[in-house]
């Protein structure tokens, strides 16, 4: 089975994250960049499917030339090769535009299954898999907490509040994963060393046949007009419980008219 996993390198949410005031885009150059958390579950699922069905796992990412950590992590976990689409013209693209670039890249790869995380921690638009499904005309099985492959038939348990929906579709298809689907493996030392020799192909918009005027800030379908740091919360009240902690808490709730 040919499996493509989509990964994204994002600013680490444990560090300070910001928008670049020169063009209101996510500040990527100055950030500590890591692999998007949800993608690790997608990679793990892709590897699990490969282990049971045979085949190959290709990592696909779009990002600045520095977006190599995410690729390396995926290759260390066991993916076979990677495609890195990078082009300055893509900077500032909205989700709709980005989906066109990913779709163009996928059209150049052979795939039975595309796996990706259900959302990324920077933009949190959470819609990429649906956009790709729409563009490529393939079924989307979203929010997977369990994936079963039976030849060309896919069964997914789609996570819902308090339960799940049982989904079925035929490959080729795109599955987006939730963090309830598995426990991502830690790369082994052997995996990390092997990753260095795995092929990483770099592609530009020209390689994909995508017109640069259709991507980037100027032609984006939505734009950030302005942004501001949230006003910091005023100093809160902190009390130490000396047998009266509960009373003070309830007193606070009463003052706020909550009880």
């Amino acid at each position: 089975m040919n499996i493509v996993v989509l990964v994204k390198q994002v600013p680490d949410s444990g560090s300070e994250r910001s928008l670049d005031s020169s063009d209101n885009t996510v500040a990527r150059a100055s950030a500590d960049n890591v692999i998007n958390e949800m993608d690790e579950y997608a990679i793990e699922e892709a590897l699990t499917v490969k282990e049971s069905q045979g085949g190959e796992v290709t990592v696909l990412t779009i990002g600045p030339s520095t977006a190599t950590d995410a690729i390396r992590k995926a290759l260390s976990m066991g993916a076979d090769k990677a495609v890195h689409v990078t082009d300055e013209a893509i900077h500032g693209s909205c989700a709709v535009q980005t989906s066109a670039v990913i779709a163009a890249a996928l059209s150049q790869l052979e795939y039975d299954l595309v796996v990706c995380g259900a959302e990324s921690t920077d933009g949190q638009v959470s819609v990429m898999p649906a956009l790709l499904s729409e563009r490529l005309g393939i079924p989307h099985l979203s929010g997977a907490r369990k994936l079963t492959v039976d030849g060309t038939t896919l069964h997914v348990e789609r996570q819902t509040d308090g339960g799940y929906w049982a989904l079925e579709a035929q490959t080729p298809a795109i599955v987006s994963t939730w963090d309830t689907i598995n426990e991502p493996r830690y790369p082994s030392f052997k995996g990390i060393m092997a990753a260095k020799k795995k092929p990483v192909t770099t592609m530009s918009l020209a390689d994909l046949g995508v017109d640069p005027s259709t991507v980037g800030l100027a032609s984006a379908t939505s734009q950030v007009l302005d942004f501001a740091g949230r006003p910091p919360k005023g100093e809160g009240v902190k009390v130490v419980d000396e047998g009266d902690g509960a009373e003070k808490l309830v007193g606070y709730l009463a003052a706020q008219k909550i009880v």
């Binding site: 949410s13 898999p129 079924p139 808490l249 309830v250």
Partner: protein
């Protein structure tokens, strides 16, 4: 007056229109006259029409077909795109749920439009407010092409009743084969809760690693019940098996923005803060005075949650 399409979210348990829809109808009024769109199996509209009228729906488009529920998401996007094409609305407002966002994205591509997700407010000129980076940054955005599509974050807009004509119009539904590729074989309920839903609740009481066991979560539930609140859990608590994943609040769980958030035995790591930082009032109970959660809290108690919380629950119940 400009027409704004509002996608209706019907609760699966038969309790009617979800609060998110009332919020969306209210938000839509800033842009124009809301027309509610009911997409579902035959009979769905009958049960919800009155509520839609009470919250200002000038029109109710009824698009009912077994196909809508039998296949995942794509049919709904297709019918909405058809309506956008026919009615040329000023905008489309959809409750921001995983399904709502998928519909919004597909609709954007189908209609050549832009879309903005998780907006907390929409202004009359179409500018939307969004919150980025776990609440650290407030952003104003605008759609630049086509029909603006917004998904509205739950609990951001207060629903306001307004009398609406709710004039019904039946929409012919014919779903293409392309939209029928993902079948929904079954919808399974594994746990029913009588407590308010996390993303809709006015008050949330969450437990973290400090709760120490699944049994001890009854302390959290006790406080929640005394306040009529929803129960949440930190990732650490869920990973330790103290509470189910569907109650997880945080970066890989739910994002909530209630009037009051009570964090009990939660340290306040960024993974958790990402899911609750925009709550209006935050209270923390933790035995560690250095816990980062206290930086966020409007009111904090440094103490043992096993003493403080049950006592507080008792006092609150006594006041009723």
């Amino acid at each position: 007056m400009a027409e704004v399409l509002v996608l209706v979210e019907v609760a699966p348990d038969g309790s009617g229109v979800r609060k998110t829809t009332l919020e969306a109808l209210t938000a839509a009024r800033v842009l124009g006259e809301p027309s509610a769109v009911v997409l579902g199996a035959p009979g769905t509209a009958a049960g919800v029409k009155d509520t839609l009228a009470e919250y200002g729906a000038a029109k109710v488009y009824v698009a009912e077909s077994d196909d809508v529920d039998a296949y995942l998401v794509a049919p709904k996007a297709e019918v909405l795109a058809q309506l956008v094409g026919e009615k040329s609305p000023a905008a489309v407002v959809i409750p921001s749920t995983p399904e709502g966002k998928e519909i919004a994205g597909r609709l954007a591509i189908k209609t050549g439009s832009g879309f903005l997700t998780d907006v907390t407010e929409i202004a009359a000129d179409g500018t939307a407010t969004q919150v980025a980076f776990a609440g650290a940054t407030i952003v104003h955005s605008k759609v630049t092409v086509g029909t603006p599509i917004y998904t509205l974050r739950g609990n951001s807009v207060t629903p306001e009743a307004a009398a609406g004509a709710a004039e019904e119009e039946t929409v012919a539904v014919s779903i293409s084969e392309a939209a029928k590729q993902t079948k929904v074989l079954d919808r399974v309920v594994e746990q029913k809760s009588s407590r308010p839903e996390l993303t809709e609740a006015a008050i949330v009481v969450s437990g973290g690693r400090g709760v120490a066991s699944a049994e001890n979560f009854s302390v959290i539930e006790g406080l929640a019940d005394s306040l009529g609140a929803a129960v949440g859990a930190s990732r650490a608590a869920v990973d330790s098996g103290f509470y189910p994943h569907s109650f997880q609040v945080g970066q890989t769980g739910k994002t909530v923005s209630p009037q009051l958030y009570v964090a009990v035995g939660i340290s306040g790591a960024i993974q958790h803060r990402a899911g609750m930082q925009t709550s209006k009032t935050i209270i923390a109970v933790n035995k560690d005075t250095e816990a980062p959660i206290f930086e966020l809290a409007d009111f904090g108690v440094v103490g043992d949650l096993n003493t403080v919380v049950p006592a507080a629950t008792e006092q609150i119940s006594a006041r009723k």
